[in-house]
Every structure is written in C-alpha cells, then in structure tokens.
C-alpha cells in the first residue's frame, strides 16, 4: 500500500547523520512511503469532535518530587566508555569549541 507522499530519503538520512548505501536508500524509500501512505489513511477519518492531544495516553502531570538519590558511581557508569581521559572524562573525537550547545 503505497501512498502519494514522496519522501527525500537522502535528506532525512543527512539530518539523522546516517550514511546509506544506494540499495538501502531504495529499500528505505519504499518502506517510508508505505508508512506515510498509512498515515494518509488516518487523514481520511472525521476528527472534528476530537480534542487535539500531544499524547495517546489519557494521562497528565506525571512527575516526581525533587528528591536526589545516590548515583550508581563513576566506575560502573564509565564501564562502557570507549576511552577515558585522566580516568574520569569520556574521550570522544574532537568537538570544536562552541559547537553544540556548550
């Protein structure tokens, strides 16, 4: 069931920082257009009496009190790190200062 919506897989892949082989692009193009086609089906439904929501579950205000707990500890949390600097910072490929948010 393929819909009418076309999708630019290369652009989506770029935004997601994914490198795709040509055959992967073709496959994903088909898959994603099929998903969009399914959503087009939903658009045919009459929703004029339904209040918009940001979530499918009818729950609101699920939160916790501001109580700090004890973190698991540095050693266990750094076990999966690809590399460390001074045994305490996670080593990553160089990021230029000012990139990202910090």
């Amino acid at each position: 069931m393929s819909g009418n919506t076309k999708i630019d897989v290369s652009y989506v892949a770029e935004l997601a920082r994914l490198e795709l082989a040509p055959e992967e692009k073709v496959k994903l193009q088909e898959d994603m257009e099929e998903i969009l086609g399914y959503i087009e089906l939903l658009e045919k439904l009459d929703v004029k009496d339904i209040v918009p929501t940001a979530h499918a579950a009818p729950l609101r205000n699920i939160w916790r009190e501001d109580k700090a707990g004890t973190p698991p500890g540095k050693d266990i949390m750094l076990e999966n790190a690809p590399g460390l600097i001074d045994d305490e910072l996670i080593k990553v490929p160089q990021v230029l200062p000012g990139e990202g948010m910090s």
Partner: protein
C-alpha cells in the same frame, strides 16, 4: 549620530536550582568529581525513562510569572534532534510549540552600564521553556573529554523579543533578569559556574527602517561585560561592513575577550531542521486556573517593588534603595538590621558606605560577613543614644568586622564609651584653651569657625576621641566667648 540602529534579542539559559536533575534523581550539584553525579538516564543510555522534576517545573512557572508571562494551561515536552557527544541520545528533551511560559516582559530604567540614561521601557519576553542541560566538554589536542555531571540539569531558556537597541539595554535586561531569578531563589545565576549563559542575536538597519537586517548570532559570552563589549564591537563591525558594501551573512560568531573582537565560528548551517516531535516518554502537563492562581501567590516581592517600599516606608533615597536591592542578600541584611535600630536611613548609610566597601576589599560575601545585621543595628543604636560618637563607631565597626563580636562588648572592652559628662569635657576644654593661646587670640579677633574647629580637634585628641562632639562645641563656644 549613527545612520543605523541595532536590533538585539537575547537567548538566556538559566539553570534551575533544584535538589535533583530534570529527569532523573541524580543530585544537581556543581563542583563534584567528573562523572560522579550520573546515571543511565542523564548519560542517555538507550531504553531509559525520564520522569519530570515537579519542582523544576514549579520554579520555571514562578520565573515566568515574575516576568509577567502568561502560563498556558496545557504544555508538553518535545524531542529536539541533536548530534553532539555532550548529549549522546541524539536528542535533547526541550519544549517546542507549547512551552510553560509565553509573552512576558522585563522593565529597564535608570543609568546604563556606560553611564548614559536608559530609556524607561519594557523588553518583551517571547517565551520561557524548560529543557535539560547537556554535558560539559573539555577540549584537548586531538580529542574532547566529556563530564556528564551537568547533563540533565534543569535549564530554562528565556527568549527575548528583538527589542533592545544598544549594549546598555542588553546589559540592563540581563541585570534585571538575574536579579529576578536570584530574588525568587530560582537560580544563583553564577556565570562562572555556567548557571547563566547568554547568546545574542544582532542585526543593524538604517534608522527608521522597518525590515531587520541579516542577523548574526554571538556565542561564548562569559560575563555581562563580555555581552556589552561584544555588542558594541559587532554593531560597529556591521556598520563598517555595510558602509563598505560588504554583505552581512547569517552566521555564528564567537567572542574573543582578550582581543576584544568577534570571530567567525560557522556560517549558516544546513537548514536548522531540528525535527521536533512530542516526547512520547513524558505526559503533557495541564494546569487548572486554580493551580495557576496558587503559583501566583508564591511570587516573592520583585526588586522594583522592594525599591519603592524602601523609599516610601524607610525614607531612603532612590539611590540607597537601588544599591540595597542590587542583590537580594543586601536587601535581606538591611531588612533584618532594621529590626534592631530606629534609624533605617543611618543603617542604610553604614551598609552602603562602610559594609559593602569592606566586603569588596576583603572579597567576602555579605552572607559570610562577620557583622551580623543585628550587631550593625545595635551599633547604630549606640550612636543614636550617644554611647559612642560616629568617629568611634568606625573603630568599633572595624573591630566587629574582624572579630565578629557584638558592639557593646567591644565598647566595653576597649573603654570606648563616649564621655558626655560635662565636667569631664570641661576640663579638656580648659586644657586646650590653656595650651593654645595663639589660637585663642585668633578666635577673639574674628570668631573664626576654622579656629573653633581647631579647638574641637584638640579636645577630641585630649579625650582620645571619646568626648561627645556636640557637648565639646557647646562648651568651647561658652568658654572662648567668656575670655
């Protein structure tokens, strides 16, 4: 007068002071060993579930109300795509179209940083939303190191309208904003600790034009002064460029504080497509009118209201009130002190001219100050009831500052009680007259006030500063006049 006017908007990030992080229970504390205050949630492990911190939301709403924002009844969190190692789950939980606070304003007035008078105006706030802070990166040759202690700390983003026209206005806006956050205990806003961070959007256009020029974003601004300097620099850079026919490009520029100039960091990126979508792991937030009313009752007194009250109720000058409300801790000190003295104006003078100077000289905060507000109030009462003179009070004050002792104790120990007994002062007066006959002749020839002042000095010296000055003047006039 420049042919151009600047259009400036600020995006300010403020960390919310809470016990725990935004979406996990790791402590929100600064200065701990790297990667000790972390868990799978704030490190962005796959499959973890965030749970919102109610207190961070409450404080954000209080911040919004203090900036006269509207609080929408319905809000939600969204995911914002993000590809840097300081937030490895590749999205940041933020708020997109339904933030907690909308359409506020902050009032600015008075003297600007450069000494010029500011226009008396409101700077609009577009929105305040709540998000999670990212980890801290440290840059080494060939690699970067990440500390996740900061990741997940609740972070408000306060977006202004592009309504500022000068570096002074931006500086005043930041100062007011910081004051409000500190007053409400929402954040300490310590820029050195990264608790407050500021990006500037700036463009220029010919005076009177209604279309903005191309905007440039300034980053890496580590102090209010850097914000001020970078805006002044950028306005003149853009003016020069336009005058010389160079097109301003949409770009991000950094600020080099040592060189005093901005530099190109990156030109316009591939479309800012953050691909926001509702965070499925968090439920929307909904408030009733009663909830919002209840938040309204929790708002502390705003700095501006406090200034007006200090002037009206305690007879302070607008300047005194301004200085005493610069920091909430000053205002709290003053308000505690006035419980112990009947002359608020005198207390204000001592805080402003002596206490703040001593604190600055010794690099101490008012909260760590050796002189408690109660003791300073008590010292002022000792002046008021003539136990000590204003001059002796300075000695007592210094001693209080270093030892933290009560003024009565110091006065007692050092025998600093003012001499008000007329017969004791009279003997000093007689001695001074006896020993300074030349000046007596001068006084007799012209009743010169300078000569009288000389005698007051002599008597004070003989009494070791303890004679009551009013009594000294009275007795000198009597004795000299009768010679």
């Amino acid at each position: 007068m420049s042919k151009y006017e600047a259009v400036i908007g600020l995006e300010v990030h403020v960390q919310v002071k809470t016990g725990s992080k935004m979406f996990c229970s790791c402590p929100n504390s600064y200065g701990e060993g790297p990667n000790t205050m972390v868990c799978p949630v704030c490190m962005g492990y796959p499959g973890v579930m965030p749970v919102a911190n109610k207190e961070a939301i409450r404080r954000t709403i209080i911040a919004g109300l203090m900036c006269s924002c509207e609080i929408p009844k319905y809000s939600k969190f969204d995911r914002k795509s993000y590809f840097y190692p300081d937030m490895p789950k590749n999205y940041q939980i933020s708020q997109y179209d339904l933030p907690f606070c909308l359409k506020g304003k902050i009032h600015i007035s008075g003297k600007g940083f450069s000494g010029n008078e500011l226009p008396n105006k409101d700077i609009g706030i577009t929105r305040i939303h709540l998000e999670e802070d990212v980890a801290k990166s440290t840059h080494f040759p060939g690699a970067s190191g990440i500390d996740f202690n900061r990741a997940g700390v609740p972070l408000m983003e306060i977006v202004s309208e592009p309504e500022m026209k000068s570096a002074d206005e931006a500086y005043a806006y930041l100062t007011s904003l910081k004051q409000i956050m500190q007053y409400a205990g929402i954040s300490d806003c310590d820029m050195e600790k990264g608790q407050m961070r500021c990006d500037v959007n700036i463009s220029i256009m010919p005076c009177g034009a209604d279309t903005f020029g191309t905007k440039v974003e300034l980053k890496n601004l580590n102090s209010f002064r850097a914000v001020h300097r970078s805006i002044e620099y950028e306005i003149s850079r853009q003016e020069d460029a336009v005058e010389n026919g160079i097109k301003i490009c949409q770009e991000t520029r950094g600020w080099n504080d040592d060189q005093g100039e901005t530099y190109l960091m990156r030109s316009k990126e591939n479309a800012h497509d953050y691909r926001y979508f509702p965070e499925p792991d968090l439920m929307p937030i909904e408030f009733t009118n009663e909830d919002i009313e209840k938040f309204g009752k929790e708002i502390p007194e705003l700095p501006e209201a406090k200034r007006e009250r200090f002037v009206a109720k305690f007879g302070l000058t607008p300047y005194d009130a301004h200085v005493l409300t610069l920091e909430k801790s000053y205002a709290d000190y003053f308000e505690e002190g006035i419980k112990h003295t009947n002359t608020p104006k005198l207390l204000a003078n001592w805080i402003i001219s002596e206490l703040l100077r001593e604190l600055a000289a010794s690099n101490t905060s008012i909260n760590e100050c050796g002189i408690s507000p109660k003791n300073l109030g008590a010292m002022i009462e000792l002046i008021n009831n003539d136990t000590i003179s204003g001059k002796i009070a300075k000695t007592v004050f210094s001693e209080m500052f270093t030892s933290g002792k009560a003024p009565e104790e110091i006065v007692e120990e050092k025998g600093l009680v003012q001499v008000t007994d007329e017969s004791a002062i009279e003997s000093f007066v007689e001695q001074a007259i006896r020993e300074n006959q030349t000046q007596v002749e001068q006084y007799k020839s012209g009743n010169n006030p300078k000569v009288l002042q000389f005698f007051v000095g002599q008597v004070m010296k003989l009494s070791k500063g303890k004679a009551n000055p009013q009594t000294v003047v009275k007795l000198l006039q009597k004795n000299l006049g009768s010679i």
